[in-house]
């Protein structure tokens, strides 16, 4: 590290968790500041988590104070008081620790020019966790700006173990040249001890949470000092907590941690964990990154691990000491998940990590960055474009798109030039731009940021204490007296106040809070390994008896496909007909396919009823039998029908909402200015509908599609699936239900096939439910 620093090189440091890489990143700066003390900003540290910055500050201050060095270390985030923020702009500390969002805001002030002029070093921590996302785009653009303000600045990237360090070197480099970024690898840690938990050697037929194993997980918690129990969703996290609590005979202190809990609640359990007061924490991805807890000695993953790097990084949360092996365990929810868990451990043994998919930078983020630059001062269009192209995600930004981004910021970017008199950016000469009024800057700073939450409602006790938040879509279904599980407690609704839900602790059996949100799919390389397991009986002896028996009977009653084959089974069951498609392309792709295929079945008069999807397969029920599945999967389904479906789907509307906020088309709703009862803010769905109809080529619709594609790599998987269906499909017409179909059949009925307009069918159903309730005599 120090060598690379002396040479003035940019560096990417890749090391396992617990190797002390953060402090290693600061070492050259501290040495430099001892050798030649200076006033003004020397080192900028950027981490995706505010809490991490605070922790790093604490760790830095100890040696600095012990050595009595004249180095000030400060943090800056949305929580920093405004007077300190102001002082930081006029008289910055030598070391400033911040987040991508706060840095971006800082760059929107005119003082940025002087503040960063002497900057020597930028350290980007946990780079693997966000470089590929919109926050990575934002930071990459901020780096391009900093490079211009301080051309001599060095970049240091810190990353956990990743499969493709070169991709990150490219991301970190100043001009796309991988070789300009030295790669330093830390000592590999001890090989983790990984296993699959199968109580009594049984794996259930269906389910996906591992809830059946609560007793065994509790035994493990008792046998270890401190455990983290990872769950894939917030709802599951609450459920698993309840399950564990009900078998917690020894009343061990256990806690719950997820992204909807209030910050205070999270900090509280984190502190309790750090001090060794908790024996277990049931958590979601909210704990994927964070502070070091040396005492954690077990990590359990409930249900599917989804990917090998992901699981490995989670296991890395145990024992932040290099010399001791971390212990990790997967609790598969069903037999397919058993295969996935096995595939995951094999992949780790083979050093095969999840593929790194970098995508071109998001255009909405670019628009926000450009607005921020404009707020700091006038700019030249060509110079700024050249600067932006040095940011790796935007290296191939074309001039035409660039003009559209400028127009979006200036007037909304419409073909109909209606808003010339309300311009936010004005051209003062050819290619010279500035903001039209100071108000534009104030509004920009209020609305900047790349994380767009769903509309949320706050949960509070009567005394005003904030417990956390639920999505408005769930909150709006609650009535006074309803109870639900949250933060490990049962809460009863006492009333509503503005956007708050007032609650009190209750003994009532609660509902489980539902969250919208993205669903993560199994990574492609795990899917490939699962397919290979099916086709290779020599592997089966490694599996528990009931998994082996399941596969064995399947191979005799139907067949097990070769890795490149697509198995489709049809069979009658209890008076209906079923079709199961085993494509292993992930839940999202299967969900899309379910919509498209049932629509086609409807048109073909097969009277589809419902379907269910998981990561491995899709099952559809219908009144008429499917004699030949091939025509249902012809590639032309991807042309009109697919596009139409995506355009109407929530996926694209949700993406549009996000790009509309990030791209500055609509402002965020700020607490306090919400629904007054008479005036309702506009919905981005309505804007989307108008835009789609009257200006379908608008930049933000393009950005929404880009998002949908990038975030659902499954869209690509769906295309490949349908493309190969014709050649690789093997159709088995079984006389009754097959073993592989069982995990799906248990949940069939999840999604109703559309009969005419799907929305209308649901409305009719809602009315029927109401009538049934009203007419029930009991």
């Amino acid at each position: 590290m120090v060598d690379a620093a002396r040479k003035g090189e940019d560096v990417l440091l890749v090391a396992a968790t617990g190797a002390g890489k953060t402090l290693a990143g600061f070492l050259p700066s501290i040495i430099d500041l001892i050798d030649s003390p200076l006033e003004g900003l020397h080192t900028l540290y950027i981490s995706p988590l505010k809490a991490l910055a605070v922790d790093v500050q604490r760790n830095l201050l100890t040696p600095i104070e012990e050595m009595d060095l004249p180095i000030r270390v400060e943090t800056r985030s949305g929580d920093t008081p405004s007077n300190r923020k102001q002082r930081q702009r006029s008289r910055p500390p030598q070391m400033l620790l911040t987040t991508p969002e706060s840095l971006s805001l800082l760059l929107s002030y005119p003082e940025a020019q002087t503040m960063f002029a002497g900057l020597k070093t930028i350290i980007v921590d946990e780079i693997h966790a966000f470089a590929k996302e919109k926050r990575g785009d934002l930071l990459s653009l901020a780096l391009s700006r900093l490079q211009r303000l301080a051309p001599e600045v060095r970049r240091i990237g810190l990353s956990a173990t990743i499969s493709d360090p070169d991709a990150y070197r490219g991301w970190l480099s100043t001009d796309g040249d991988i070789d300009s970024v030295a790669l330093v690898r830390g000592e590999p840690g001890a090989t983790p001890e990984l296993s699959i938990l199968t109580p009594q050697d049984r794996v259930p037929w269906a389910g996906h949470s591992g809830r059946y194993a609560a007793r065994q997980v509790m035994d493990l918690i008792e046998a270890h000092d401190a455990s983290i129990i990872f769950c894939n969703t917030r709802s599951l996290c609450e459920l698993i907590f309840q399950d564990l609590w009900s078998v917690n005979d020894r009343q061990l202190p256990i806690g719950v941690h997820h992204g909807s809990l209030s910050i205070e609640a999270r900090r509280k359990v984190e502190a309790a964990m750090a001090e060794g007061r908790l024996r277990a924490l049931v958590a979601t991805a909210s704990l994927d990154m964070g502070l070091d807890w040396g005492n954690v000695d077990l990590v359990a993953q409930m249900g599917s691990p989804k990917g090998s790097s992901r699981f490995l990084q989670r296991v890395g949360r145990a024992n932040h000491r290099l010399d001791e092996a971390s212990k990790g365990m997967i609790v598969p929810g069903n037999r397919f998940e058993y295969l996935e868990a096995r595939a995951c451990l094999d992949a780790i043994a083979d050093d095969e990590l999840d593929p790194e998919i970098f995508r071109p930078g998001a255009l909405d983020v670019l628009a926000q960055h450009v607005m921020g630059v404009a707020c700091a001062g006038p700019f030249d269009e060509a110079e700024l474009l050249a600067e932006i192209r040095t940011a790796a995600p935007y290296a191939s930004l074309d001039k035409e798109t660039w003009r559209k981004v400028l127009e979006l910021n200036a007037t909304g970017g419409y073909a109909l030039k209606a808003y010339d008199k309300y311009r936010r950016l004005v051209e003062t000469g050819p290619g010279k731009w500035r903001i039209s009024t100071p108000k534009v800057a104030a509004r920009h700073r209020l609305n900047a940021g790349v994380i767009v939450d769903n509309v949320m409602m706050d949960l509070r006790f009567r005394n005003g204490r904030h417990i956390g938040r639920v999505e408005e879509s769930f909150g709006s279904t609650l009535s006074i007296g309803d109870a639900f599980f949250f933060s490990g407690m049962s809460l009863e609704v006492e009333g509503f106040k503005d956007s708050d839900i007032l609650v009190r602790a209750s003994r009532k059996e609660g509902r489980i809070v539902s969250y919208g949100g993205q669903r993560m799919s199994m990574s492609t390389h795990l899917a490939r390994r699962v397919r290979q397991f099916l086709a290779d009986p020599t592997q089966w002896r490694r599996f528990p008896d009931d998994v082996r028996e399941w596969l064995d009977v399947q191979s005799r009653r139907s067949l097990l496909p070769e890795p490149h084959e697509l198995l489709v089974e049809t069979f009658p069951h209890e008076g209906h007909h079923y079709m199961c498609i085993y494509s292993f392309e992930g839940w999202n792709a299967h969900q899309s396919l379910g919509m498209l295929v049932t629509k086609r079945m409807d048109e073909a008069g097969l009277k589809p009823m419902s379907w269910v999807a998981n990561d491995y397969a899709l099952a559809i029920s219908s009144i008429e039998p499917v004699a030949d599945p091939r025509p249902l999967f012809s590639p032309d389904i991807l042309e009109e029908e697919f596009r139409e479906w995506v355009e109407e789907s929530h996926l694209l509307r949700r993406a549009f909402r996000e790009v509309a906020v990030i791209g500055g088309l609509v402002e965020r709703q700020h607490p306090g200015q919400r629904k007054t009862g008479k005036q309702v803010s506009f919905s981005t769905d309505l804007i989307y509908d108008v835009l789609k109809k009257y200006e379908p080529s608008h930049l933000l619709l393009r950005a929404a599609w880009d998002d949908a594609r990038a975030r659902m790599t499954e869209l690509g998987r769906l295309v490949r699936l349908v493309d190969r269906a014709a050649e690789t499909m093997i159709h088995v017409a079984a006389e009754r239900v097959t073993p592989m179909a069982v995990p799906l059949m248990v949940n069939i009925g999840r999604e109703q096939a559309p009969g005419g307009s799907a929305d209308e069918a649901l409305l009719v159903a809602a009315e029927e439910d109401l009538v049934a309730q009203a007419m029930r005599l009991d």
Partner: protein, 220 residues
């Protein structure tokens, strides 16, 4: 178009949320909020400048489908009183043509009170049509049957694990609130206290689907 009866008269509900009264030959629409987008653009939110065009194109379709001879706009027809001044050429031409073809009545609301009309039609504060009062905002003590807008009611229901949200009517024996008609007008939950305060708690939300009207009692 699906039938709806109110105060002893028969009406037809159009998909757009307009109400057609065959006996009076009248098309009733509420809360067009024309030029809402440009109002927000003035303050920096550049919403698509096509909302008036989209809304008026729909009105034109509805007039053609119902063969209405008159149109009653129940207030908040423009997002603000200067909205009509800002109307772009294309929707302005559409509107001027329509007000020449049918008897067009602007009932004013809180958003467009004091509006100056450049495109034809009559501006009034209230109207009485075959014994039914037409006004912008429901008046709690009104003894006569009354139709109004203002609240932009929408119904949100959950069925089969999924959520549906639709613009809806809110009805009691003597009061009918129309859904918002404008392309960029959002909604307020039909059971919002503000709506119940205006119509009383014995209200239902009415949603038109392709072949009939669905009725949902509203609970406070």
């Amino acid at each position: 178009m699906v039938p709806l009866s109110f105060a002893g008269h028969d009406f037809l509900v159009l998909r757009s949320g307009a109400l057609f009264w065959p006996d009076a030959g009248a098309l009733l629409i509420a809360d067009l909020h024309l030029e809402k987008a440009s109002w927000f653009a003035r303050f920096g939110q550049m919403l698509p400048p096509y909302d008036s065009h989209a809304t008026l194109a729909l009105v034109e379709e509805d007039i053609a489908a119902s063969r209405a001879s008159s149109v009653y706009c129940l207030g908040d027809s423009f997002h603000d009183r200067f909205g009509c001044d800002r109307l772009p050429d294309r929707p302005r031409a559409t509107l001027t043509r329509l007000t020449g073809e049918v008897d067009w009545v602007w009932i004013t609301g809180n958003h467009d009170a004091g509006m100056i009309d450049h495109c034809g039609g009559r501006v009034v504060e209230e109207a009485l049509l075959v014994g039914i009062v037409l006004r912008h905002e429901a008046m709690p003590g009104e003894p006569r049957p009354e139709m109004s807008g203002h609240f932009h009611p929408k119904l949100r229901v959950k069925a089969r694990g999924r959520r549906v949200s639709r613009r809806c009517f809110v009805a009691t024996d003597t009061k009918l609130i129309l859904p918002a008609y404008g392309a960029l007008t959002g909604g307020l939950d039909a059971n919002h206290p503000a709506i119940l305060a205006a119509v009383g708690s014995e209200a239902s939300a009415l949603v038109a689907i392709s072949d009939r009207l669905l009725r949902f009692p509203i609970a406070a």
